[in-house]
Homo-oligomer: 287 residues x 2
């Protein structure tokens, strides 16, 4: 099997290995595991490089489609506990895409204005235009994660939100968006080491917030909230992928290949020119 | 001289060589020249790689500053005729930055809503947040370029706009923004070849617009309009750089080093932690 065929298999393999189906149990997916991949970091980095040009080409085709009226785009939702590696995904996976076709949005604690609207309001405002890859660093899922763990809204409101999210995402899909939802699944032990690492380095201390230690105390409640998210919002239209994230290189490999898998499935095509090529060649030659 | 010192010199050299001072004559800057650089493409690419980590580090420091209340940011304005390589700068120079600290905005023909506001309205709405590098692919300068060439507004309005732009940019600078304005300076001959190249390739035809040939007919008027822009809006606060762009590798080298030069001058620092490090270490250890 050539390199390209192997790469094709890897994207399919990882997509199958990581996708959340009914009956999925979060506690059974080991954060230090590397589902669908038996090699180490070096091979993982090489596998990403092998398919970087193909990913770039697919992204540009999707963008080109949109210039001729194509409506398709991609929404990549990235969730995970503090230090799970969301920033690294943004830098090393999203960062390898052409910035002209990417919109990146980091959702923080809602502002007063955002809170005065329904919870999906700020998310709708940040959706990517046609042809683009939109990336959410945190998302509307915070409204059933932190909101659940800290009882920010009544339980009945949380319960209703799952269905509202499913309906919202179904509408996106109906309108041409491929929705890819990734949970970076880190272990409590690994988080402890990463937080300690931040406290040790002058160039990392700014990333640390004392609140991170408080939140760490709610670990089991967050795992439970994530389990409910998987139970209730991993749909055929908008599936979740739980990506073991104790090995950063594996998480990056996985998200890169999830994007690749879905862009391949979209199979975007260079649009036919809306003008007569020979006529324009003649005009240009005499210009 | 070590590699790093040489790199330092290159950024300074290119900045000096490309900056527009009073008395600058656009017609005297040859689009195929490579001011401040005597080597070829290979060395240029290597020079960018040598300083990529430093640029990344500076960008992250500026971003980190903003998390502790720092207000500084960068606005990179990129202008140029069709095919001058704006897209390549976005892909290969801006694309090497961390997307979490970049906002990219491409200004198209103004919408009806945009036209109903003063010309700087849409530009203000697209300014980067503190800590970020904002990149404009075209900008408010279109309002004194295409607007002048095609008489879209009365001459007196155009005349007033130069001063309005200078005042606007001065305010940005006063508020902590480093404004870097780049004109990619391509020759008419090179444009002709690039347009012909687009017409020849299925994966490039979507980038071609019959209007590009019409606009080509206004070449001298555009050069004159650019000359006026240089005369009237290259200020100490917000200087222009005219980057010869017939060699794409040179233009990328130049813009990379212009960013590097200005970020070095800003000299952003890792912010001091707003918490007691040993106290947090103890809390974390017992968590």
């Amino acid at each position: 099997m050539g390199k390209k065929a192997a790469a094709k298999d890897l994207a399919t393999t990882l997509e199958k290995a990581l996708r959340v189906h009914q009956g999925f149990v979060l506690a059974d997916r080991a954060p230090a595991s590397t589902p669908g991949f038996t090699k180490g970091k070096k091979t993982a980095v090489a596998a990403q490089e092998t398919t970087a040009a193909e990913l770039d080409d697919l992204q540009e085709r999707m963008y080109a489609e949109s210039t001729q009226g194509g409506r398709r785009n991609v929404l990549l939702v990235v969730q995970g506990m503090d230090t799970s590696g969301k920033g690294g995904i943004m830098r090393h996976v999203v960062g390898s895409l052409d910035p002209q076709g990417v919109t990146h949005h980091a959702f923080k604690k809602p502002t007063r204005e955002e809170l005065s609207h329904p919870f999906l309001w700020r998310v709708r405002n940040a959706l990517p235009p046609a042809g683009s890859v939109g990336v959410f660093d945190r998302s509307h899922y915070e409204d059933v994660l932190v909101a659940r763990v800290h009882n920010l809204v009544p339980p009945a409101t949380i319960s209703r939100r799952y269905g509202q999210i499913d309906g919202f995402e179904q509408t996106l899909v109906d309108n041409g968006t491929t929705v890819i939802k990734v949970m970076l699944h880190v272990s409590r032990e690994e988080q402890g080491e990463r937080l300690a690492g931040r406290l040790d380095r002058v160039d990392k201390q700014w990333k640390f917030n004392p609140n991170d230690v408080d939140e760490r105390g709610f670990w089991p409640a967050y795992q439970e909230a994530y389990q409910l998210v998987m139970d209730k919002t991993s749909t055929d239209a908008a599936p979740w992928y739980v990506v073991p994230a104790d090995h950063k290189w594996y998480a990056r490999l996985a998200v890169h290949h999830l994007l690749l898998h879905h862009l391949r499935a979209m199979d975007p095509q260079w649009p036919a020119p809306s003008y007569d090529v020979s006529e324009q060649k003649a005009r240009l030659a005499s210009s």
